[in-house]
């Protein structure tokens, strides 16, 4: 190796250093010295020395001689890298004569900033790439600065600049287009700003700027596109204050999503506006619903009924016949309830028809109940159930029996049995067992606890599953005779 310098002196120096085990220190000092040199040639020489020593010692190590045990190569690599950067910026075309110490103090970030402020964009980008700075801090930042500068160039048209910017910035990630657009807007180039904003993916940045630029319809569209309803609300509220009512409603009409959200807001904050919105849309059904809801807020019955009447009118306009008729029914019912309340003192207003009838039955006002049954066309089955339950509740067994005989029950007589049992009256329940249909005989007997009767019925009907049901209700000890009989019958039936 010493022949490199063709110098015998060098050989001597080297041996001295080796003996004092100072080789690694020597290499380190060489590298550091290179760093402080400004002349590339000198840098190279010093680095070459250290490199050669290092590789020599690596070779020697492979022969078992260890000279440079713990020398980390990273110092060498990073120094080369730093030197390249420094040499580049020290170049007379750039003119930043930094020393290594200054560079280390200032950090790469600041250096990039300096380059950017001097509009040395290509160089800045190259440095970033070379030093592998993360995109956010490096290339993207530089490109953003470049773009901000570019948009201020008055000579070129909006399209040209927008194209240039979009092409250059296309692949870079994390660019804040909104900052660039703001710059453009501040330079009075609104159209350019809008074009640039198209590229901004973060709607939280896009929308406020569009509002500032008085491009409200676009701001609204973008807010809706983002799906961030909070943002949409913000725009809508802003527009509410900026525009007159007519224009505001018109704008909402064109944006159904915004309209729905605004309606939600009105539901809680401004009920009357809701009415206007429905009117504007000729949405008569919704207006009807609105009046129905409003009716429940009224304390006085007259006001309540008045609202319901408005609802009826709206429902007819909307061709919702069923809703209209039902609402008319409710008005009729309310009036009826009020009248009866005044006459009889029973609290009735607001009850459902069912509850009204039940209450009236419980105080014995049967005629009125009949009236309601006819007036509101209550189906027979429901009416019978209602009467059955109300009378049993009242334990008015006499009336119940009378009513049960009034005509043939549309619900059969098993319900009578079961309801009586529910009210712990087996005696009454038994009265109806004989009246049930054949299919329900077994059930009826079992309901009143008459296992024998049930067995009779089941056997007579020759129904296997019914026999089984009765069997399951038999107590093994007391009914063993019955059980035998049933088992025999079951076997007979099964054979067929």
């Amino acid at each position: 190796m010493t022949w490199l310098w063709h110098s015998q002196k060098a050989d001597e120096y080297l041996r001295e250093i080796k003996e004092q085990s100072l080789l690694s220190e020597a290499v380190r000092q060489c590298v550091e010295a290179a760093g402080h040199e400004h002349e590339p040639e000198t840098q190279k020489t010093l680095l070459r020395v250290s490199h050669t020593v290092y590789s020599f010692s690596l070779q020697a190590a492979s022969f078992g001689k260890c000279f440079l045990s713990n020398f980390p190569p990273e110092q060498f690599v990073s120094m080369c890298r730093d030197l390249r950067v420094l040499n580049a910026v020290r170049d007379y075309t750039v003119g930043i004569p930094l020393s290594l110490t200054q560079f280390k103090q200032m950090t790469i970030q600041v250096l990039i900033d300096r380059l950017v402020y001097r509009k040395l964009y290509p160089l800045a980008i190259e440095v970033c790439c070379y030093l592998k700075t993360p995109e956010y801090q490096g290339v993207s930042r530089v490109l953003k600065h470049w773009a901000c500068y570019k948009v201020q160039q008055k000579e070129e048209s909006d399209e040209v600049i927008a194209k240039a910017v979009s092409v250059k910035l296309a692949d870079a990630a994390g660019i804040s287009y909104s900052e660039i657009a703001t710059k453009a807007y501040e330079s009075g180039r609104t159209e350019l700003a809008i074009k640039l904003l198209e590229f901004e993916p973060r709607s939280g940045e896009q929308v406020p700027l569009l509002l500032k630029m008085k491009k409200s319809p676009l701001a609204l569209s973008k807010a809706i596109e983002s799906g961030d309803t909070d943002l949409v609300y913000t725009v809508v509220m802003y527009l509410k204050n900026e525009l007159n009512r007519g224009d505001f409603f018109m704008m909402l009409r064109n944006q159904p999503v915004a309209l729905s959200l605004y309606k939600q807001f009105c539901k809680h904050q401004e009920q009357d506006t809701l009415k206007d919105l429905f009117n504007q849309d000729d949405d008569h059904e919704e207006l009807g619903n609105f009046y129905v809801k409003a009716s429940y807020k009224e304390q006085r019955l007259e006001a309540r009924i008045a609202h319901l009447q408005s609802a009826v009118d709206e429902y007819y306009k909307a061709k919702k016949e069923f809703s209209a008729k039902t609402t008319e029914d409710e008005m009729r019912l309310l009036r009826f309830q009020r009248k009866l309340e005044e006459e009889k003192g029973e609290q009735l207003v607001g009850f459902s028809l069912h509850d009204t009838m039940t209450t009236l039955l419980s105080v014995g006002l049967h005629k009125h109940v009949e009236q309601l049954y006819k007036d509101f066309r209550v189906p027979d089955k429901r009416f019978w159930w209602l009467r059955l339950k109300a009378l049993a509740e009242k334990e008015d067994w006499e009336e119940l029996e009378k009513f049960s005989k009034s005509k043939k029950s549309p619900i059969g007589y098993l319900p009578f049995v079961e309801v009586c049992i529910k009210h712990h009256n087996k005696y009454e329940a038994r009265k109806y067992v004989s009246k049930v249909t054949l299919e329900q005989k077994v059930k009826a007997h079992l309901a009143v606890g008459d296992v024998e009767g049930a067995a009779e019925a089941a056997i007579e009907r020759r129904n296997e599953s019914e026999i089984g049901t009765v069997l399951s209700r038999c107590a093994a000890t007391t009914d063993h005779l019955l059980v035998e009989r049933l088992n025999r019958a079951k076997a007979t039936v099964a054979k067929k």
Partner: protein, 523 residues
């Protein structure tokens, strides 16, 4: 410290905060903070600014709470009004939060390479996800993807499943008692602890509160079983625990006794767990063996198989006549309507009149809501596609095996949830095989791919499972979760499912969220 939930933004809460100002002089100086959940709201801050109180708050921040893990394979946003907002009020705020939640998920578990979806909401969420990805383009995380596929499903693609009564153990607990935040409150009588030496102890009056999740061994075993198979499982467990306790007779040496004693806490916990679940099972059995339950279930299954869905059901008529709980009626009529693709005008009007006359006119608004979301509507000119869908996807499986199921239909004793069937077909053989059926269901279906950073592509080893995240937009039932777990556990399925939803629902809570009670507005 007050936390404000986003859903209350519109209900005038900002006005509430203006009042403390008046009292401030009298009280000692206090710090007021606001924590927005799940997200800061510009609108709220604007309101507070308008009222002049924004600066009185020491600290304004947000607590981002999107997806909450309920179990090892279950995430929920617990957004009660999500279905109502999306399908009734055209307010898709909860979908925005769902997308944000998914972005957080991807930040932790890697970009999901494949996204499938069915429904309008699903499309919207996917669009937002792709858009949000662009927003964060500069800061990619280098994480190996855990999920292979994301499936977004609109609730309204399958309106039938939540209406049906769930028949799994956990499903029934939810149907009957209601599970909230992983806890259930039960009537205390069956859980009275019999302490020795204390006679005549008073029965507790407070409901018994139990936590339900897979950390409890027994519960994890039985939660997803059909209820009819739970009894056998419990008795088997009882034998095992008994035998374990009997071991104490075999422990002779000090070492053996010591080992037995060390096992005691675990055995006692197992015994207590068994006692709890035996009690719960008894409570449930009281209901499932009742005639009422049987009749109701029979009608449900008739509707699901297309029997008599076009006429007024005498059973429903009788239930209304006896003033059975309104929710029960609503679930049944909606089910009939869904299975018939809408009811004949005469039938619909008849049901509506019966309901309004029996339960009150005020429910007219609820009925309108149900019509709006498609649950209870008049027949349109379009033919009823439900029978075709049922046949093609094999939604009704006669003779479903409840004890040793071989198909997901066990969760409803014969009916396979449409949503889960769609998921099953997606995994194998793929949706292309059911294009025609998919077109009959509402909303678009789509596939998207997301770029995964090079070098992070998941290389699956032979025998390793695919992981699919299924996200229900609008709610998911425990029965559907059980069905998906069944698919994960099936041999040679090759797929593992993780379930996410905007809310854990059952038919009752779901219909309740669509009800409007105008009387509540009375001052």
């Amino acid at each position: 410290m007050h936390a404000i939930s986003y859903s209350h933004v519109m209900q005038g809460f900002p006005n509430f905060f203006c009042q403390p100002n008046l009292r401030e002089d009298k009280l000692q100086p206090r710090d007021f903070h606001i924590l927005f959940v799940p997200r800061r709201s510009l609108l709220c801050e604007q309101r507070l600014k308008e009222k002049g109180v924004l600066n009185s708050f020491t600290n304004i921040d947000e607590y981002i709470l999107d997806l909450i893990p309920y179990d090892g394979d279950l995430l929920s946003m617990e957004s009660e009004s999500s279905f109502r907002e999306c399908y009734l009020e055209n307010d898709q705020t909860s979908l925005y939060h769902a997308a944000k939640g998914l972005m957080t998920l991807q930040a932790l578990y890697g970009t999901i390479p494949q996204i499938f979806g069915k429904g309008e909401c699903a499309r919207h969420v996917a669009n937002m996800m792709l858009r949000m990805k662009r927003e964060f383009a500069g800061s990619q995380t280098q994480i190996l993807p855990v999920f292979d596929t994301l499936l977004l499903l609109d609730r309204n693609v399958d309106l039938l499943t939540p209406l049906a009564t769930q028949l799994t153990y956990e499903g029934l607990i939810d149907e009957i008692f209601g599970i909230t935040n992983g806890y259930v409150k039960l009537p205390p009588e069956k859980f009275a602890q019999k302490k020795q030496g204390e006679g005549g102890k008073e029965l507790p009056t407070e409901p018994k509160k139990l936590q339900l999740n897979s950390a409890e061994e027994l519960y994890a075993e039985i939660r997803d079983k059909n209820f009819n198979a739970v009894g056998a499982a419990l008795s088997k467990k009882a034998k095992i625990i008994s035998a374990a306790f009997e071991e104490r007779h075999n422990a002779k040496t000090v070492g053996e006794i010591k080992q037995f004693v060390s096992q005691l806490p675990h055995m006692q916990a197992a015994r207590s767990s068994l006692a709890n679940h035996t009690s719960i099972a008894e409570l449930i059995k009281d209901i499932t063996t009742s005639e009422d339950f049987f009749d109701s279930l029979t009608v449900e299954q008739e509707f699901m198989t297309g029997v008599d869905t076009d006429k007024v059901s005498t059973y429903i008529e009788d239930c209304i006549a006896q003033k059975d709980p309104l929710i029960k009626i609503l679930r049944l009529v909606c089910m009939q309507s869904v299975c018939n693709n809408g009811l004949k005008q005469k039938v619909l009007d008849y049901y509506k009149k019966e309901i309004l006359q029996t339960y009150g006119y005020k429910h007219i608004l609820t009925l309108k809501n149900l019509e709006r979301v498609g649950l209870l509507k008049p027949q349109s000119t379009m033919r009823n596609n439900y029978p075709t869908i049922r046949k093609t996807l094999k939604l009704w499986m006669e003779d479903a095996n409840e004890q040793n199921p071989n198909d997901i239909s066990y969760v409803y004793s014969g009916y396979a949830p449409l949503s889960v069937r769609l998921t099953q077909v997606l995994a194998r053989p793929g949706w292309r095989s059911i294009e025609e059926v998919l077109k009959m269901l509402p909303g678009p279906h789509f596939e998207e791919r997301q770029q995964v950073p090079t070098g992070l592509h998941k290389k699956r080893q032979p025998g390793e499972n695919r992981t699919i995240l299924v996200f229900f937009l609008g709610g998911v039932t425990y029965a559907e979760i059980a069905a998906l777990r069944f698919l994960s556990n099936m041999e040679d399925s090759g797929t593992e499912y993780i379930i996410a939803a905007t809310k854990l629902i059952n038919g009752t809570s779901w219909i309740k969220s669509l009800m409007d009670s105008p009387e509540e507005n009375l001052p």
